[in-house]
């Protein structure tokens, strides 16, 4: 059974907002990484997440809920980029090159997994409800 268009739009907005918040958290963690390499990594990946969310959130908000494809396409594009950067934190946070102190590295690693798992779930759900293929 399909969810109502309003619920799909709401879910898309909330999902992008969740990614935005997590992106801001990773930016806030940048000064606590303990090494300039970790600092720039957090700034770089965090900034991509924030920009991808800030740009797309108003686009999704402006679409009418009935226009499921119009909602689904930008939502999937935004979540695609954010989820991918979450994967980035998973694979780089604990890498030796970045010299991130252990507690911050673990925090970034966990945030990365949260973004990755939630992002995959949101992508699949929005794709299914809006009938927009993932390869948008």
């Amino acid at each position: 059974m399909s969810a109502s268009p309003q619920k799909v739009k709401r879910f898309a907005e909330v999902s992008i907002a969740v990614m935005l918040m997590l992106g801001i958290v990773t930016l806030a963690l940048a000064p606590f990484t303990g090494h300039y390499r970790g600092f720039y990594l957090s700034i770089f990946l965090g900034a991509i997440i924030v920009v991808a969310s800030v740009v797309y959130l108003p686009i999704v908000r402006m679409k009418k809920a009935e226009d499921l494809r119009g909602v689904g396409v930008p939502a999937i594009q935004s979540l695609w980029i954010s989820t991918s950067m979450g994967l980035g934190y998973v694979v780089t946070a604990l890498a030796p090159y970045f010299n991130i102190n252990f507690s911050t590295a673990v925090a970034l690693f966990v945030i990365g997994w949260v973004m990755l798992i939630y992002g995959c779930y949101a992508l699949l759900k929005i794709s299914k409800e809006s009938k927009v293929p993932l390869s948008v």
Partner: protein, 456 residues
């Protein structure tokens, strides 16, 4: 269902392999751009940058990359526009410059055969890279890793296996970020940007060699650009997306690959990333980029085979292409431990004929059809095509031979630069023959093929 010339036609093969794309399936310019970016996200592009680093310093690498990619952007944008205008894929577009049977031959040359070769080569590289990262385990021997890698890549394309599809899908944006991180890490470790710009090989090759090298890397991609651009919401969506992704991101990838090699001294970028300490996960992601490219290889090859044979569905052809490619990689390359050079050589030889096909397409669509014969490209059941377009076949073969002779023997017809000669010869020859025969009132298209209800 798709509407063709006012009739509703069932898409029996899938993915509109023999039909034009209906309006409800069109996608934004950004979407088309993202698909091209997924195709470009392949470790081989970085290795190509490493290849440039053995010939040039970084400034010259950037120069040849920009010039080569600008040429690719123009050539590809022209061909992509044909897909955007007609909503037809490459193999359908070939029905006009080569004829219907000629299009089958052209499809074999540009996609059906070489993409199986490249599927095998990418799968083999996957096996080698996994073996480099995790040596000494039975599952990571080149043969076994190639086998499971090839099967996984095929599954993604065949059944759209969601977990795998989403894995390769979400890899792409970070893949580009990872290459940027690798570049800056190499600069950081090797002593800053001063060291980067000072690094250079002992001998600098002529500019023309590098430009040809860069153009040759992606010339075949230009020719199959309509497979994606036909989905563009605007006629020019595919052209813009193609030009931007090649000019900016391919240049970036070549530059990054060259920089990492010049700074770390390693011609193998995967090894370079490992040396920098970016972690095993980053290495795995680097090879996952190959996944999205092989998806596209098998998908494009399947479209070509459907247009050649007219039997089986797209998903079945994807499986056939994947199985053959995987067997070549795992058995020939892995079990027998033999080099895939013969396959690469065969793929490279066919590659000489790919730019001429593109040049013939451009000459026919933009000049002969538009300005001389005043015909438009039409597709749909009942449409009549010539069986063979003689000037098109001659131009394709002559251009390919000219490119081969220039590259292998240095024959100047007229420039001595392989890809350039292939394009010039086929473009000029097609126009001379087609326009000349048309003006003289002589028949140059042989036979007649009526499109079937399935679009075949």
């Amino acid at each position: 269902m798709a509407s063709q010339a006012g009739k509703e036609v069932k898409d029996v093969y899938g993915d509109y392999a023999t039909l034009t794309v209906p309006p409800q399936e069109l996608r934004s310019t950004l979407n088309i751009f993202m698909v091209y970016m997924g195709v470009l996200a392949v470790i081989a592009a970085i290795f190509a940058g490493s290849g440039l680093a053995t010939m040039y310093d970084l400034t010259t690498t950037l120069t040849v990359s920009l010039i080569g990619n600008a040429l690719l952007a123009i050539f590809g944008a022209l061909i992509a526009y044909m897909g955007g205008t007609t909503r037809a894929n490459t193999y359908m577009l070939l029905r006009y410059p080569l004829g219907r049977v000629g299009a089958m031959i052209g499809s074999l040359v540009i996609s059906a055969l070489p993409l199986i070769m490249w599927y095998a080569v990418e799968t083999w590289l996957f096996g080698i890279t996994v073996n480099v990262i995790y040596p000494g385990h039975p599952l990571t021997s080149i043969a076994v890793a190639s086998a499971w890698g090839g099967i996984l890549m095929m599954l993604t394309a065949y059944i759209g296996y969601r977990a795998m599809a989403i894995l390769s899908y979400i890899t792409v944006p970070f893949w580009y970020a990872l290459i940027a991180i690798g570049l800056f890490a190499a600069v950081d470790v090797a002593g800053g940007f001063g060291a980067l710009w000072a690094a250079r090989p002992q001998v600098i090759a002529p500019l023309s060699v590098g430009i040809t090298y860069v153009f040759g890397l992606y010339a075949s991609g230009c020719v199959i650009a309509p497979d994606v651009s036909r989905y563009g919401v605007k006629k020019w969506s595919g052209s813009i997306a193609w030009a931007l992704h090649v000019l900016i991101f391919m240049t970036f990838l070549l530059f990054a690959g060259a920089a990492m090699t010049l700074l770390t001294g390693s011609p193998n970028v995967v090894v370079a990333i490992a040396q920098l300490g970016l972690g095993v996960g980053a290495l795995l992601l680097a090879i996952l980029g190959q996944w999205t490219t092989n998806d596209n290889n098998s998908w494009s090859a399947a479209l070509a085979w459907i247009n050649i044979v007219g039997k089986l569905k797209r998903s079945q052809w994807v499986a056939i292409v994947g199985v053959i490619g995987t067997i070549i990689a795992a058995v020939w390359g892995g079990v027998w431990g033999m080099s895939l050079d013969p396959f690469i050589a065969f793929g490279t030889f066919l590659g000489y004929f790919i730019p001429p096909v593109g040049a013939t397409m451009v000459a026919d669509f933009y000049i002969f059809s538009k300005l001389v014969a005043k015909r438009t490209y039409v597709f749909g059941p009942g449409t009549k095509y010539a069986t063979i377009n003689i000037p098109g076949i001659i131009a394709m073969i002559a251009g390919g031979v000219a490119g081969w002779a220039a590259t292998v023997y240095g024959v100047k017809v007229p420039t001595g630069v392989g890809v350039a000669d292939a394009i010039i010869v086929s473009f000029v020859l097609y126009l001379v023959l087609a326009v000349g025969l048309y003006k003289a009132g002589l028949k140059f298209e042989v036979g007649e093929w009526v499109e079937r209800p399935t679009g075949f």
